[in-house]
Amino acid sequence: MRQSLAPRNLRRRKIEENFFRVLMAGSVLIVIACLGLIVGTIIWKGLPALSLSMITQTPKGGYYLGREGGILNAIVGSLYLASGATLLAVLFSLPIVLFINVYARKTSRLATWTRFSFDVLWGVPSIVYGAFGFILMVFMGLRASLLAGIITVALLELPIMSRAMDEVIRLVPPELLEASYSLGATKLETALKVVVRQSLPGILTAILIAFGRGIGDAASVLFTAGFTDRLPTSLFQPAATLPLAIFFQLGTPFPEVQARAYASAALLTAIILLVSLLARGLIKKYTKHLT
């Protein structure tokens, strides 16, 4: 093919081979080391800051200046917000994914376009979702509130969840659908009782992945969810979130307040780790189930 393939310079070629092999293995190591460094640093800084009072109290005297209290406001706010958004996203994405896989033919134009718009939405930066959520919020006459945050984060989660669901639901063998039809089931019954049941672990994984993304995103809730020291008691009140608790409290001059940011970071990382472990476990179970 090329001169370099001739056996002419075997030693040089061997050296080249080894040189790149080392370079490549090194690159993998760098990637893994980055992950280790990030998680390590967050835990090293955050663990000492985590105490019982940190996670059971709201900040006292203002989240930016007050030196006492904890991050309960952000924990509760984040859980409400991410759960609400995930629920809303499921309500939209499950029917859509079922529709393009059961009702529409898998290769139909509608299905292709829907997948394409999910791809496009997936690429929209979260700050743009934030700006759009803000416009939507003003348009609907809402103020920065839990509800506005939920809607914005649901939009952000929608493409992530749908793509992940689509990937597993696509794998349901068509024979299974046909067997169900031949028994006289309607498409709806087939979709709910056969397709959903068959791919349930995968669907749950998709939901978990979206939840993880939703709970960690800051830029989209910056405009829409507000921030407060108190616990939200209704959908129309502003809500604090863990990512924003980190962002706002990291920049203060008081170590006690910074500790709250580190504690929030450690907690958020722990939640993400937990969610991805759960998702991984489900995938394992699912693939076992398939074979």
Partner: protein, 293 residues
């Protein structure tokens, strides 16, 4: 009755299916409508290429922010592209299965970490590091700089580039590699002449996806980049990327006339740039997939 339920469900689902496409449109239209007041006063061209940023006086020049975005993204790509490509070649061509299965979840996790976490880490580790090394390059830096932003961003786009290129590389038929190996080529030569050549288009798409991810990333960069509204002169200078501008000023934007309009326009410009890159990458990927399948 059952048929009725089925028909009803099918209608509802059909309507819902138009939703994602609709959202894409609504976002673009919404941002455009909110950005229009400022477009009415100043032509887009002068907004994009003016360096004067003084919202109080009604000066909205996006140029420093656009340059900030470009600098940070360029640094990120220079760092991330070689590392992620080499890593993905190693994972697909060299690594034993056990290693692959060990590393994949880690890359998953890297992709799943929230951007504020990257930001905190950047503040704790990368910023002091940059401040420390700046004197060796004949500059001084607080550490909050383009370089810090670019480094953090590079790590954030590792997973995107690695994933997409892994997929592309794995779609290259195995026989091609075997043919090359049987001709006496070393493994690396096979990679160089067969894998990279065949996968070039797809790898470009992977890089473009990484790029568009980098362009829109907000919080992590915002926390380490310094946020100085000036066109940066070196990587040790602070910068102020477009997403950071939007995120940082939402508080004041309602009190200064046209400010919110300018920010929404900025979001719109950002969206259009990111979408163009995204769609481009997807089109390439679809073509690659079709050829492989």
């Amino acid at each position: 009755m059952r048929l009725l339920k089925d028909a009803l469900a099918s209608k509802v689902m059909l309507v819902l299916t138009f939703f994602p496409g609709l959202v894409v449109f609504l976002i673009i239209i919404g941002l455009y409508l909110r950005g229009r007041p400022i477009l009415a006063e100043k032509p887009l061209f002068s907004l994009l290429f003016s360096s004067s940023w003084a919202p109080g006086r009604g000066d909205f020049g996006f140029f420093p922010f656009i340059m900030g975005t470009l600098w940070v993204t360029a640094v990120a790509l220079i760092v991330a592209v070689p590392i992620s490509l080499l890593a993905s070649i190693y994972l697909s061509e060299y690594a034993p299965r056990a290693v692959q299965e060990f590393i994949r979840p880690m890359i998953d996790l890297l992709a799943g970490l929230p951007s504020v976490i990257y930001g905190v880490w950047g503040v704790l580790l990368i910023v002091p590091l940059v401040a420390r090394i700046a004197p060796f390059f004949g500059g001084t830096s607080s550490g909050y700089s383009i370089l810090a932003g670019g480094l953090v961003l590079a790590i954030m786009i590792f997973p995107t580039i690695i994933y997409v290129s892994l997929e592309v590389i794995s779609s290259i038929p195995y026989e091609l590699r075997e043919a090359s190996l049987s001709l006496g080529a070393t493994k690396w030569e096979t990679v160089k002449h067969v894998v990279l050549k065949k996968g070039l288009q797809g790898i470009i798409a992977a890089i473009v996806l990484g790029l568009s991810r980098a362009l829109g990333e907000t919080m992590a960069v915002l926390m380490v980049v310094g946020n100085i509204p000036k066109v940066p002169q070196s990587v040790f200078d602070g910068g102020y990327p477009l997403p950071a501008l939007i995120a940082n000023n939402y508080g004041e934007m309602m009190s200064v006339p046209l400010y919110d309009s300018a920010l929404m326009l900025a979001a719109g410009v950002l969206l259009v740039i990111v979408l163009v890159f995204n769609v481009l990458a997807r089109i390439i990927l679809v073509r690659v997939e079709r050829r492989a399948g």
